[in-house]
């Protein structure tokens, strides 16, 4: 009993020691990777947006929609070929935070569960990872918009 607590004490000290040494360089590296990959995806998005503004009848406000749709299509395709997850392992948040990561989460869940059938497997699991984003985003947006709408109607 005594021995066990002593050992965990030692383990705790070691873990603190290891914690101090290990993560700081890897966090910098991870942040740099996330910055570069996330930035590059946004640059691709900017290129698509300009393409839609110049060659189709979109303006700066409306060009965001087709841009997001094309990025999602590319991300789903890359997920299907297994390329996106390889990049994501390297890029971390750089590929998770852009809307492509959202599409990747949905597509990989859908593809992985297709053996369980299309209705319960694909349909039921597609939102397993993306669901929280939609639920909390929608609820937060509802509360914020409600407060603002009441504020505007009563104030002005």
């Amino acid at each position: 009993m005594k021995k066990a607590t002593q050992q965990t004490d030692q383990q705790r000290i070691y873990q603190e020691f290891a914690k101090k040494r290990e993560p700081s360089p890897s966090i910098w590296k991870n942040c740099l990777k996330a910055f570069i990959f996330g930035g590059l995806i946004c640059v691709i998005g900017q290129g698509l947006q300009n393409f839609f503004i110049y060659y189709f009848d979109f303006n700066e406000k409306t060009a965001g929609d087709p841009t997001v749709a094309v990025l999602i299509f590319i991300a789903v395709l890359l997920t299907g070929f297994g390329v996106y997850d390889k990049i994501a392992q390297f890029a971390g948040a750089g590929t998770a935070v852009p809307v492509t990561g959202f599409a990747n989460a949905m597509a990989s869940a859908a593809i992985d569960h297709r053996t369980e059938g299309y209705v319960l497997g694909v349909g039921g699991n597609m939102f397993k990872l993306a669901g929280p984003v939609i639920v909390f985003g929608t609820t937060a947006a509802f509360i914020i918009a409600l407060i603002k709408t009441i504020w505007i109607q009563w104030g002005g």
């Binding site: 993560p23 966090i27 942040c31 996330a34 910055f35 990959f37 996330g38 930035g39 946004c42 640059v43 998005g45 900017q46 290129g47 947006q49 700066e60 965001g64 929609d65 087709p66 841009t67 997001v68 749709a69 990025l71 999602i72 789903v76 299907g80 070929f81 997850d85 971390g92 948040a93 750089g94 998770a96 935070v97 852009p98 809307v99 492509t100 990561g101 959202f102 949905m106 597509a107 859908a110 593809i111 992985d112 297709r114 053996t115 694909v122 993306a130 929280p132 984003v133 909390f136 985003g137 929608t138 937060a140 947006a141 509802f142 914020i144 918009a145 409600l146 603002k148 709408t149 505007i152």
Partner: protein
């Protein structure tokens, strides 16, 4: 050309915030994305996200934070016309492209591709 640079920097920085939330705050990717969406919604609520889009273009519209921004935007646009009911009917107005394309393409991908490994 300047737009590409600001898109790169702002988009990259938002991803760095996400990376820090995962590495430093030890959040799961799911929690991180959820937090970023709520942050985006709050930023639009106080009127700060729109200037960011004007400055950074796709650097602000491509990260998931813009999803929260679009939800508030759609809800507000209808809310100004139809009051509280409009908030509910308009909430998915702007994000329809993103959500429906993600659903449709993901389902088609599940029809075509087989799971890896």
């Amino acid at each position: 050309m300047a737009m590409y640079l600001s898109a790169f920097i702002v988009g990259g920085l938002i991803c760095v915030i996400g990376q820090l939330l995962m590495d430093k705050a030890k959040l799961t990717p799911g929690h991180t994305l959820t937090a970023l969406v709520v942050i985006g919604a709050i930023l639009d609520g106080v009127g700060l996200y729109e200037p960011l889009i004007d400055f950074a273009g796709a650097g602000a519209t491509v990260p998931i934070t813009s999803f929260g921004n679009s939800l508030v935007h759609g809800a507000m646009a209808e809310g100004e016309q139809n009051g509280i009911v409009g908030v509910i009917t308009g909430i998915f107005e702007v994000t329809s492209a993103g959500i429906s394309s993600a659903i449709i393409f993901s389902f088609l991908a599940a029809l075509i591709f087989k799971p890896k490994g």
